[in-house]
Structures are given as structure tokens and as C-alpha cells.
């Protein structure tokens, strides 16, 4: 057995053993598997058209193409900064310096990457019921979409490597290629928008129609992988074969390009491997990475306000200001993007947009600045009462939460045409859920502290969210069922219930800092 095969098989075997030996991981995997079996079974149930009929299947193909294109662009652009990150730091230290053929090492890295991207894209499979009910396709469609996703990530990593090889030694080349790429992507976006506009305005239907154009198939990788997935869903072997041939051709072309530009690609992956290694180490130590732009604008220097515990809130203000992109944090931009996406997915069902926003918030709140603060020692050392320090740690979250909630639902008002009272209700609801999730995080900190049982904490987080959201959701559903005419009021009453639950939870956890370990 070759060294690389030995490494892969041993890692796989030990991973499986580790899951079996660790109860929290085992529970997590079993829950994931149970969900998967459930979604696979329900997703494969006989497809029955609902009363509104299925939505245009081309919409699904357009979403797939958009997803692949975003993934491709986001990964490929790393080539302008760090190169590709398909290796671990241990690979760099032990494999790169070993007498192994570089091509074999590259294949090993890409194989690992393909495995990882399929694992990350796993969430796609959970959409099976939604996709079945909306577009009338079964679980197999999700499998095809997942495979296409994996292939897109795989080729995007290679693109990043080629871009890095081409530009790493020259800033001029880097800037020139960056502009070429931006103009190239801009042309496709403009073409899509113009096509839709010419067909009668930028509406979902026209955008979907525009996405069918052959021109968009020329977008690197995602254009054709999306076509191959479409072929697989429709059962058209010609499209599948064409897509597969294109991907293999692309891969061979990249291998050749890497060989011609510079066969020594180790440097192209080293920097990004070091960056991701540092991030992993920081995560292991409980320090979440800062979601800051690459070039931070320092702006006004100095903490001129705050005395005692209140300085924590002032520090957060400065950190928030410096980590913003286009006046908003990266996380807020992601939230708004998902909200806009929700408008297209749930155009006939505004409550769906609200649910999507709240779902996204479960991840956004955990990544908040106050959560990061708890990983540093300073908050525990400041000589103030624990609940006062806690208050100032959380205080900085309120304004961003309110601002983000407003910004998330402004597009909803315009795109999904919700009325003002419903929009306000959704904003209030999102804010209340945000507060509730902050309190749930406090509870987790109170119960688990800095335990390294991440899987267990994750499970507990979602269970607590379900548990403590239940009163508000139950109230809202009851009002909507009993008094359908007042369903908008349900948003506000649910918000009030959520805020009460959040306040009670926060009060119970007020001394978290004094007992944290």
C-alpha cells in the first residue's frame, strides 16, 4: 500500500472509530443520519401536485446555476490572495517534504477536497421535501445537485491554484487579471439582467428565462455543471456526457496549465493552508475568527468612552466599525442576501421568508461579537459585577440586530410586496428571536462553559432553541388559526412572548461570568 493510500485509509478508519467511541459525536451522527433517512423517505414519497401546482422546474435549474456560480467565484478568487486550501498543515509538513511525486500529492489533495466539499454540501440533501413539494422532483435530484456542487468546488480549487500561480509573483498581473475577471463576471450579470429587462422587466420569471440562454453556459464550470445536473434530473444522457467531458477537459487543462506555468505548486497552497491552520487552531482554543474585510480601515483611533465594564461595549463598537464591509458586517450582508433569496423561493408565502430569516439568525447570533468576547480572559478579569459586565457585553449586539433586521426586510417589502404592517411584524419577530437566541447562548455558556464537547453543545443549542421558541411559535400559530384575519398581530404577540422568555432566561443566567470555567 502506498503512503498516501495508507494515510487516507487510516484517517478514515480512525475517524469512524472516533465517532463510535465518542457518545456526543455518535449522537450527532445518528441524528444527522435519522434526518437524512427521513428526508430521503419523505422526499421520495409519491409526488402529489399541491393546490397551487408545481413551480416552473427551470427555476430550480436557475437556482442551481446561481449557487454553483457563487461558489465558483468565491473559491476561485482566493487565488488572488492565498491560493487553494486543499491540504492540511500536517500534509505540508510531512507530505510536501517527503520524496513523493508532486502529481500524486496533488491528486491526493484534490481527492481530499472533493470528499470535504461533498460533506459540506451535505445540507443540500435536506432540502428534498421542499424541492419535491415545490418542483415535483424526488430525492435523486438532490443527489445530482450535490455531486455537481462537489465537482464545482473541486474545479474552483484548481482555478484558485492556477490564478495564484499566474499572479503570485507580480502585483501588476494580479490587478490586471482581477479586472479581467470582474469585467468577465460583470458581463454575465449584465447580460442576464438585460435579457430579463428586454423580456418585460426584472422579475423572477424573466430572470429564470434569461438563465436558460446558451450564453450563460459559457460561464466557467458552473454553466456546464448546472447543465449536466439538469440533464441528470431530466434523464438526458447527452447533457450528462457533455458535462462530464467538459469537467474532465477542464481538469486536464488545469493540470497542464499548472505544469506549464510552474510544476512546483507547493507554494500556491502553502499560504492558505497556514491561514486555515491558524483559524482551526484558534477555533480549537475557543476563539472564533474575526469576520473582517481583508484590508481593515482603522479610522478613528482610540477608545475615548467607557469606564469600567462599559468599556467593553465601547470596544465592541470600534471592532464592529472596523469589521464592516460597505457599512455592514459580512454576516449582515450574508443575512440580507439570504433574505433576498428567500423572496424568490417563497414569493407566494411571505411567512417562509420570515422562517428562513430566523433560521439564518440561529447561526448569526452564535457568531456575534459577545460570543467571541467570552473566549478572551479580559471579561473575567475586569473588576466589576458579573451581571454588569454581561450587560455591557451583550449591549453592543442590540443596535446591529435591529439594523440588520430592518435591512433584511426592506427588500422583502419591495420584492415580495408584503404590506407595511406585515413587514414591521416580521422585523419585530426577527429582533425578538435574535434576543431569544442570545439568551439561549447565555444559557449554554452557563451550562457548558468552555467545554470542548462541540457536537453536544450544538445539539443542545438547537434543542434549547426549539424549546424556548415554542411558547412564541405556539401563540402565533394559535392566533393565526383562531383568528386568521389578525394573523399579522400574531407576529407582534409572538415577539412579546419571545422577549419575555429571553428576559427570564437572561435573568437566570446573570451570574454566568462568575461561574464560567
Amino acid at each position: 500500500m502506498s503512503a498516501l493510500t495508507y494515510l487516507l485509509t487510516r484517517k478514515l478508519k480512525n475517524n469512524i472509530l472516533s465517532v463510535l467511541k465518542t457518545p456526543s459525536k455518535l449522537i450527532f451522527v445518528l441524528i444527522l443520519a435519522a434526518f437524512m433517512i427521513f428526508t430521503a423517505l419523505t422526499g421520495n414519497e409519491a409526488v402529489q401536485e399541491n393546490i397551487y401546482g408545481f413551480r416552473d422546474i427551470n427555476e430550480l435549474y436557475a437556482i442551481v446555476m446561481l449557487l454553483y456560480s457563487i461558489v465558483f467565484v468565491m473559491i476561485s478568487k482566493n487565488g488572488f490572495y492565498n491560493g487553494a486550501s486543499m491540504f492540511s498543515m500536517a500534509d505540508v509538513n510531512m507530505i510536501f517534504t517527503a520524496p513523493l511525486n508532486q502529481s500524486k500529492v496533488l491528486s491526493f489533495g484534490l481527492f481530499q477536497q472533493l470528499g470535504r466539499s461533498l460533506l459540506i454540501g451535505y445540507f443540500i440533501l435536506y432540502q428534498s421535501t421542499l424541492v419535491r413539494d415545490t418542483y415535483g422532483v424526488g430525492f435523486s435530484a438532490l443527489i445530482y445537485i450535490l455531486i455537481g456542487y462537489g465537482v464545482t468546488v473541486f474545479l474552483a480549487q484548481m482555478t484558485a491554484m492556477v490564478v495564484y500561480s499566474l499572479t503570485s509573483c507580480s502585483d501588476k498581473k494580479k490587478t490586471a487579471l482581477k479586472w479581467v475577471c470582474m469585467i468577465f463576471v460583470g458581463c454575465f450579470v449584465a447580460y442576464t439582467a438585460l435579457s430579463a429587462y428586454k423580456d418585460g422587466g426584472i422579475t423572477i420569471a424573466n430572470l429564470v428565462l434569461a438563465s436558460r440562454s446558451m450564453v450563460l453556459r459559457f460561464f466557467p464550470v458552473s454553466g456546464i455543471t448546472a447543465l449536466a445536473v439538469e440533464g441528470a434530473i431530466q434523464g438526458e444522457p447527452l447533457k450528462i456526457a457533455g458535462g462530464a467531458a467538459y469537467c474532465i477537459g477542464f481538469w486536464l487543462l488545469y493540470r497542464l496549465a499548472i505544469k506549464l506555468i510552474n510544476s512546483d505548486y507547493y507554494e500556491d497552497v502553502l499560504q492558505s493552508t497556514e491561514v486555515s491552520y491558524s483559524a482551526i487552531q484558534a477555533r480549537k482554543e475557543g476563539k472564533a475568527a474575526e469576520n473582517a474585510p481583508r484590508n481593515v480601515k482603522t479610522g478613528k483611533i482610540g477608545i475615548n468612552k467607557g469606564f469600567g465594564a462599559s468599556v467593553i461595549a465601547e470596544k465592541h463598537k470600534i471592532e464592529n466599525r472596523r469589521s464592516k464591509v460597505f457599512l455592514l458586517s459580512t454576516m449582515s450582508l450574508v443575512m440580507i442576501a439570504f433574505s433576498v433569496l428567500g423572496c424568490f423561493i417563497f414569493s407566494d408565502m411571505p411567512v417562509g421568508i420570515f422562517v428562513l430569516n430566523v433560521y439564518m439568525l440561529t447561526m448569526g447570533v452564535a457568531a456575534g461579537r459577545w460570543g467571541k468576547e467570552l473566549a478572551y480572559p479580559y471579561i473575567y478579569l475586569i473588576p466589576e459585577k458579573p451581571h454588569i459586565k454581561l450587560w455591557y457585553t451583550i449591549k453592543g449586539e442590540f443596535m446591529p440586530l435591529i439594523a440588520e433586521s430592518i435591512l433584511c426586510f426592506i427588500p422583502v417589502y419591495f420584492i415580495a410586496h408584503t404590506n407595511i404592517s406585515e413587514t414591521l411584524g416580521m422585523i419585530a419577530g426577527r429582533i425578538s428571536f435574535g434576543l431569544l437566541f442570545i439568551s439561549v447562548n447565555l444559557l449554554l455558556q452557563r451550562l457548558f462553559g468552555s467545554s470542548d464537547k462541540k457536537f453536544l453543545i450544538l445539539i443542545a443549542y438547537f434543542l434549547f432553541i426549539l424549546l424556548f421558541s415554542a411558547p412564541g411559535i405556539f401563540t402565533a400559530v394559535t392566533i393565526s388559526v383562531l383568528y386568521p384575519f389578525y394573523f399579522i398581530a400574531a407576529y407582534f404577540i409572538m415577539s412579546a412572548v419571545n422577549i419575555v422568555v429571553a428576559a427570564v432566561l437572561a435573568f437566570c443566567c446573570r451570574n454566568t461570568l462568575s461561574i464560567s470555567n
Partner: protein, 231 residues
Amino acid sequence: MLNVKDVTKKYGKLIANDNISFQVKSGEIAVLLGPNGAGKSTIIKCIAGLLRFKGEITFGALSNKSVEAKRILGYIPEMPAVYDMLTVGEHIQFILRAYKMDDDGYGDELLRRFELFDKKDKLGKELSKGMQQKLSICCALVHKPEIVIFDEPMVGLDPHAIKQLKEIFIELKKKGASVLISTHMLDSVEDFWDTAYIMVGGRVQAKKTMGENSGSLEELFFNITESGDVK
């Protein structure tokens, strides 16, 4: 013999290594000294074949990037990264396979010397940072390299491991290996170095050989790094 000739490494506009040349003969221990940001780790990575550069690095007659050169190189990185999901013993097996070597028991001997033998079945992720560093050293030495480069090897090691490592430096020297140690802990190498290269601002600013009457290594280091007229 390790030969570094006219090596320049740039990251965009930043010149990390500027026309560096030095040699480490067989049976010699050379130390690379310098403040943070002097370019020590960059030249070490260039030697290890991890970075592209202008110039020439050879191990005897072999280019450092050739497979044959890698076979005789041992590299102990600054960041001891080990595989989370491989046991200590499996790390050694993996390296032996990668270098196409039979297990002659030297791996176990190294693990014993660094007090890791009883942890042979522990996973990489279960090791402390210091233990990971020890394992990283064992992995770099198990294939009996002729050129050995250490990047800050003492960081995180306990006194016993430091003692073992110092003994290994001497043993490698006796066996005729070329040993290059990058560090800024002057006292850690005081007893056994043969040649010292002091780097500042990406350049080798001074070379001192053992026995030269130009003051202690520490004095020379501070004279150069604090003089302010470094180009």
C-alpha cells in the same frame, strides 16, 4: 552538504530574503539567528522546498526540489502540525512508507527517547502542543536524513525533550549530517554550534564561526541587530 546560493524570495513587493548565500558542511551545525521578521522561516521553507525562489539551493549535487533530495532531508517546522486522526505509531509508519523504508526499530527508539512510546496508540489530536512538537521531530528524523533543518525546535518542549534534542544535534553531527537550526533563543544553541549566521531584514548580516575571537554570540547578535545601520 547544504548549499544556499544567491537566494531571493519576494512576496509581491516585500523582499523576505535578499540574495542570501551560506553553506552548511557535512558534520557541521549551523545556527540561523535573527529577530522576528528577519526572514529565517522563509529561507528555511525555501530549503525545505515549500517556496519558490530565485537562486539555487542544493544538497550536495542534488537540487533541493528533486525527489532524491527530499529523501535525505529532515524538516522540523515551526508549527508542529500532526494528523488529528492518526495515532503516534501510525505517523511513524506513514513516514517510513512515504520514504520507502523498512521499520528497523529506530522509530520506536526515537519515541522512547522523547517519552512518546507509551502514547503510541494515542491520536494526534489527543497530544498536547509539546507532544506534537516531539512527534514532529521523531517524524523528521526517523528516515535518518543527511540534511536536517530545524525551525525554532525548542519552543514548547519540556526540559527532558530539550536535553534529548541537544544530544540528537550532537549525534547528527557525529554521523556527518548537515544541521541547520533557526532560532532566536541564543542560549539554547550556545554549547554546540559551529557556524552562526545572523539575519536582519532578509539578509545575512554576519557570519561567525566557533573559536573566532570576536566576542560572544550574544554580543555579536545585539551589536548587529541594535546598531541601527543595518542595510
